[in-house]
Amino acid sequence: MRLQQSLPVERVGGGRQRLDARDILARYGTFLALIALIVVAALLSPRFLTPVNLMNVLRQTAIVGVLGIGMTYVILTAGIDLSVGATLALSAVLLAGTLETTGNIVLAMLVAVLAGMAVGLGNGLGVTLGRVQPFVMTLGMLGIARSIAFLYTGGEPIPVLDRTFLTLGIGYLWRIPIPSLIFIAILVVAALALRYTPFGRAVYAIGSNEEAARLSGIAVGRVKTLVYIISGATAGIGAIMYCSQFASAPPIAGEGYELDAIAAVVVGGTSLFGGQGGVIGTFFGALIIGILSNILNLMGVSPFAQPLAKGALIILAVLIVGRGRRG
């Protein structure tokens, strides 16, 4: 009986042989691309594989990587968050300002994260209650957050001088840059939450079919609001990393980071239509973009040409993943 019923499946299975190569490409494509890139980079520049350089890559990847994790949650629900770069700037200047006036590191960091979450709450409510398109809502929020950062500082950067705080950005723990450790820790939590909590399931369900999720009793509005709050929180954490690395909080901080974060998500194989992908892919995506910048720098490629290489890479990644998914 059971055998008979599995017959039609076998037929489907026959067709799958051909699909398997694509499947592998879609599932592990980002990882394979990362390996390939590392090999090429090592061949191109002897300095690439030195510990110092690798640690630099890791440190430089951390901020965009953390933003990318929040962005992955948003994109999995078929949304987008264009405001993360500006939110990072707002959180950064508030952090620096708080540190300057109170000298309290914990309070300053708390302010940064809470400010980010507040911006995310605004985005979330706009998207759910206001029914504003995520693209439009977060584009508006980009302008608002950036502008508040400028108004708060009067346009000048706020210096960050607290030595203890700066250790967070430039220090090492177990010979690994602290920002990278923070990135990995957040990654692990985010990956577990996505995979092993009802919330994670709801995120995928909404991105896959919002109406079906609603009819299955998922609190769609609440979950969507929450992913924007998470994205705002990662922007706040990104601000902590930024201030402690650059010892300064300029209102122009994080300009264009939203695009790097989106690039990391997309290169990492998450579908902009939602419902497919995950934060592990984003981790690899962020590394790919970081390594690419690094090798271009090592090779002395003109900064004018670097965005070209990055842009081509993103399109290539989507072409490959797109083939695997929907071809």
Binding site: Y196, R201, Y204, S208, N209, R214, L215, S216, G217, I218
Partner: protein
């Protein structure tokens, strides 16, 4: 011209989509100077067929002959150039341009220079409208016209291209009676001029009023064609719904069982009005009615997917006011939606996630999912429902339609709902899977679940429901059970609104 020679002759045309054959070897012939009705329920393949005729979709097989010559349109403009014009339900006019500009779109007459020759354009439009026997304000922007007037603009536009075959896709859906009479006059006039007209509708009264011949599609196949004089309404309904002589095999409701769901005077504007019904534990109740009778909307409103405007709902004797499906779920309700692809499934996610979606709390401890517990329940349901799948990890996209439907059913079984609202539980499901789903519904009722079933297939309702309610134009117009449960009465109620109830229903519609 020999009237027996069809101008348009469709033979064995087939069109497949992933997982479904929308049009399956359909024959269809239209003669010059006739009004030919194309009839069928939603999903019967009417739209796909006319999209193929209009060049919006390619056929996968079969032959289309136009005046005896085989044709294969690869674009709507190719079909238009050959003389076939399709007027879709959603009109495609430019709202800001004038009536004249819309009618002559793309071929406005020019003067020697490149300027539009307005006097010539207006003359041409006046001619076309005279041919139709209508008057329209030529310079008004189309956006200011009524729907009925816009439809006439579309028809005039088709005539301006010398179309000899005019296909109207449910033109009456948005028209009132007077506009409809007017449209009929225009259509008859065109018939007199030798134009072949394909008229699509699922309102039977209209078909009898206007058509010369009728072709019925069901599940993508030809269900029959007749000269209108040689067919009865009952015959057409049978062809549309596939209803055969039904045998009641359903469980009798236990009159002593507690009432699980009671709906009183429930109304939702534009959908249904003043519906009252009650459902006891262990009972299976069917709702019959044509597409558009408000059946689906009623289920959705009970479940909190849409908000009713008036009336009350009681669950287990307690008043319930569901602002969202989540609240209905908490009170033990489950809804199997009408369209599994757009409302039911997470197509690109695994079977496992689809099944557990409505009962995640059951698999959660201390905030985390318990994959092992989930896996066990999902595997059990795969076995119980005989879902043909490689395992819980298979994406549901790759399952057949019947197995996909079982996945949505499994979702509500995993949730252990006591009150189940099933909207078309066997749509697009093959015969074998249908039987299994029927058995499953019986088993659920035997265990005490209260089940409300909406179905377009009377055969299905007769097979599983000992009590059938009939809806027509948003109202409950009949209730049949026991010895009163006769197919002819149910069909009468579906079409005419039942015996004494008929008059007020029509007035309300």
């Amino acid at each position: 011209m020999n009237v027996e020679t069809p101008v348009l002759d469709v033979a064995a045309v087939t069109r497949r989509f992933p997982g479904v054959t929308a049009v399956d070897g359909v024959d269809f012939a239209v003669r010059a100077g006739e009004i030919h009705a194309l009839l069928g329920e939603n999903g019967a393949g009417k739209s796909t067929l006319i999209k193929i005729l209009g060049g919006a979709l390619r056929k996968d097989g079969g032959v289309i002959r136009l005046n005896g010559e085989p044709v294969d349109f690869h674009s709507p403009s190719a079909a238009l150039a050959a003389g076939i014009a399709v007027i879709y339900q959603e009109l495609v006019l430019c709202p800001h341009l004038s009536v004249a500009e819309n009618i002559l779109m793309g071929h406005l007459p020019r003067t020697a220079g490149l300027a539009v020759d307005w006097p010539a354009a207006n003359r041409r439009v006046a001619e076309l409208l005279a041919q139709l026997g209508v008057t329209l304000p030529l310079n008004a922007p189309v956006g200011r016209l009524s729907t009925a007037q816009q439809q006439l603009v579309e028809i005039a536009k088709a005539l301006s291209r010398d179309s000899r075959i005019l296909i109207l896709d449910e033109p009456s859906a948005t028209l009132g009676q007077r506009d409809l009479d007017h449209l009929f006059a225009v259509i008859r006039r065109l018939r007199g001029q030798g134009v072949a007209i394909v008229y699509i509708s699922h309102r039977l009264e209209e078909i009898f009023a206007i058509a010369d011949r009728v072709t019925v599609l069901k599940d993508g196949r030809l269900a029959g064609h007749w000269p209108i004089a040689e067919v009865t309404m009952q015959r057409l309904v049978r062809a549309m719904t596939g209803r055969d002589l039904g045998v009641v095999t359903g469980r009798e409701g236990d009159a002593a069982a507690p009432v699980r769901l009671a709906v009183r005077n429930l109304s939702r504007k534009g959908a249904f009005a003043d519906v009252s019904l009650s459902l006891r534990a262990g009972e299976i109740v069917g709702i019959a009615g044509l597409v558009g009778s408000g059946r689906t909307e009623l289920l959705r409103a009970i479940f909190g997917a849409d908000q009713p405007d008036a009336g009350t709902i009681e669950v287990d004797g307690q008043p319930a006011r569901f602002r969202s499906p989540a609240q209905a779920l908490r009170r033990g309700l489950g809804l199997l939606p009408e369209d599994r692809k757009t409302q039911g499934l997470l197509l690109d996610r695994a079977l496992r996630e689809n099944v557990s979606l409505a009962s995640l709390r059951r698999f959660t401890r201390f905030g985390f999912l318990r994959p092992a517990a989930e896996e066990r329940v999902v595997r059990e349901l795969i076995d119980d429902l005989h879902i043909a799948a490689r395992g819980p990890g298979q994406p549901v996209m790759t399952l057949s339609g019947g197995n996909q439907q079982k996945v949505v059913l499994a979702r509500w079984l995993a949730r252990r709902c006591g009150i189940l609202l099933f909207d078309e539980p066997t749509r697009g499901v093959d015969v074998g899977a249908k039987e299994e789903i029927y058995r499953l519904i019986h088993a659920l009722a035997a265990e005490g679940a209260a089940v409300l079933i909406v179905s377009s297939e009377l055969k299905e309702l007769f097979a599983i429901c000992p009590r059938i309610l009939v809806m027509r134009e948003g109202r409950l117009v009949g209730e049949f059970a026991g010895l009163d449960l006769r197919e002819d009465d149910v069909v009468d109620a579906m079409l005419m609104g039942g015996r004494a109830d008929a008059a007020p229903t029509i007035a309300a519609g």
